[in-house]
Amino acid sequence: MYRIFILILTLTTVLTADEARLIIQKVDNNIRGKNIYMKISMKIVSLRHTRSMQMENWSQGSKKSFVKIVYPPKDRGITFLSLDNQMWQYVPKIERTIKIPPSMMLQNWMGSNITNDDMVKQSSIVEDYTPRIVKREGKLVTMELIPKEEAAVVWAKVVSLIDISTYTSQKDIFYDEEGEAVRVFLYDKVKKFGEYYLPTYWRVEPMDKDNSFTEIILEDVKYDISISDQYFRKSALKRFSR
């Protein structure tokens, strides 16, 4: 869970090559090793149905993460724990803790449009891509990011539209090897948290499915709060499920 946010954060702050790298590294360094609490709303819309979820997330560094679903009531109390590279899930309805095998972790996450690629990536965007400015229009800069040859990313190209007044991205388009757009990330409602700007509304749309998208709204973000170690133990799954 945590890693998606790293990806998106770093994406939003890409500028020119050197400037970009400096800033991203700062952001990277700052976020790593910190404790973060977030309350998130997610809406998944597909051809047939719409599904809304709300969850709370506690993270410590990049290896420990605890997620609790709080809405809808049917799913309330489902918890996930990600510790180093293992993942567990607790489902109150059947009162069972289940270990998720790595192969499952590589699949589409909870039916949303976020893929395995996002979950699994370990290197940051600065290391994997070579950025290039394509166009400047007032405070909007269009950047083209080409992945490096050894970078373990499936995209052939990412095009970002960046607002340099807040250093956040408004739109990211991901392209495949044939030059076709596969999905689009849209960002809006930028707010300031501490020293950084963060869009609090995200939308992921796949280009090959009509009327299908995932929306994420950050309702609450707190940095540097103290998070008890209790959250990152297996016992947390059941205990904090209530």
């Binding site: 180093d84 590279n85 293992q86 790595p102 192969s103 972790m105 590589l106 699949q107 395995n116 690629d117 699994v120 990536k121 370990q122 992945p147 040859e149 050894e150 970078a151 373990a152 990313v153 499936v154 995209w155 052939a156 991901f174 392209y175 495949d176 090897e177 596969v182 090959d208």
Partner: protein, 403 residues
């Protein structure tokens, strides 16, 4: 005397030219077709078995205990390089190759599929099983991000030469790790498991990616000279999982057996009918000359010389037919061996079952030797009945008789 008989037999064989020619043509055409079919079927079976051995397990494969069931990296042979050195010293071991394999997810921007990534040493694989022969498209090059992909897997992911892929799996420390790959070549091993699931990269790269040591391997594949060596290997390395090719792929042996049965039945039926053909002609030709034989015997010619003459006649026809058949058959077989039967209209099905879409035949000496024996026997047996007729002849009656 003998020379005379030979000469007479020769001349008599060609007395009725059309008739003799017909028989010769019949033998030649039937034989060559049969040879062609045998070569094709044997070729199919042999090719498949051979390719399976060369791309897969070799004659014998060694795994760590538990690997074949769990396919997990923790079940790997830790001191594979030491073992290899030991094994190479055993007499009867011809070639050896180490492989490191990991199961994981292979993804493009649009599609993902479970796959098996194998780290191989190109040079070792080349001398082990002529690996470069499996190349279907592209160029074998494992430098940089280079990877070689199995044909069916490429179809499933809809990738081609130059496509970029990402492979993710758990490495030896349990972490999920990903690696970028560029397809440099598409391979067709006709080993179904490999063609539908495998992607090959350089062994050193694989070790670095998985965090394993280059002295480790998940499989040691060995080519041996004979069965004795296989048993020796099993005895010496009993703490590991040592399996022979037939144990890993019992289907192959059954396929071979079925082919043998099928070819034998075809052979038998064809030879029987050929026999009937020769019989008819010899019978009639003897009957035509019954007066001659009667007179010859009447003036003192011994029966056994006549018998020799008629046998020779049959042998001449059979032998010339055989030569024609052998020539035509050899041409057929050579064509099938070098160009093969083109069934590319059915390539989807063939590839799914592990066959190449062009089927090549083999040539075996046994084709020619067994057919030779069969035709000669058919020729000799065919004169049995006519000879009996002659034997019972009463010369006087014959001279008087009308045809």
């Amino acid at each position: 005397m003998f020379k005379l008989i030979v000469k007479m037999a020769w001349k008599n064989s060609f007395l009725r030219l059309s008739r003799t020619l017909l028989v010769i043509i019949m033998i030649a055409v039937s034989m060559s077709m049969m040879l062609g079919i045998q070569g094709l079927y044997d070729g199919m079976a042999d090719t498949m078995i051979d390719k399976n051995r060369r791309s897969g397990s070799g004659d014998v494969s060694i795994f760590a205990k538990g690997y074949r069931v769990n396919k997990d990296l923790q079940y790997r042979i830790k001191n594979a390089d030491e073992l290899s050195a030991e094994i190479k010293k055993i007499e009867g071991v011809k070639e050896l190759v180490l492989r490191v394999k990991a199961e994981g997810l292979l993804s493009t921007a649009r599609k993902s599929s479970f796959a098996s990534m194998q780290g191989i040493d190109l040079r070792a694989e080349e001398s082990f099983g002529d690996f470069s022969e499996f190349l279907k498209e592209g160029e074998i090059n494992l430098e940089g991000q280079g990877a070689l992909i199995g044909l069916e897997l490429a179809k499933r992911l809809k990738v081609t030469i130059g496509s970029k892929l990402v492979f993710s799996t758990q490495d030896s420390s349990g972490e999920i790790n990903s690696i970028a790959l560029r397809i440099r070549a598409i391979m067709q091993t006709t080993n179904i498991v490999l063609d539908t699931n495998a992607i090959f990269i350089d062994a050193k790269k694989m070790h670095r990616f998985l965090g394993t040591d280059s002295s480790e391997a998940t499989q040691i594949a060995i080519m041996t000279a004979d069965k004795k060596t296989n048993d020796l290997l099993k005895a010496n390395f009993s703490d590991l999982d040592v399996k022979s090719f037939l144990q890993l792929q019992p289907m192959m042996k059954q396929m071979q057996d079925v082919m043998i049965i099928f070819n034998s039945i075809t052979f038998f039926i064809v030879m029987t009918v050929v026999f009937i053909g020769i019989l008819g002609v010899m019978y009639v030709s003897v009957l035509d000359r019954i007066r001659e034989f009667g007179i010859a015997m009447g003036i003192g010619m011994q029966y056994r010389y006549i018998r020799i003459q008629i046998c020779l006649e049959a042998l001449f026809v059979g032998f010339i037919g055989y030569l024609g058949g052998a020539l035509l058959g050899a041409l057929f077989l050579l064509y099938l061996r070098d160009y093969g039967l083109d069934l590319s209209a059915f390539s989807d099905a063939l590839e799914m079952w592990g066959y190449a879409s062009t089927i090549k035949g083999t040539i075996k000496i046994s084709y020619f030797t067994t057919t030779f024996a069969a035709i000669i026997s058919a020729s000799l047996f065919s004169v049995f009945i006519p000879l009996r007729k002659i034997k019972r002849l009463n010369p006087i009656e014959v001279i008087k008789a009308e045809k």
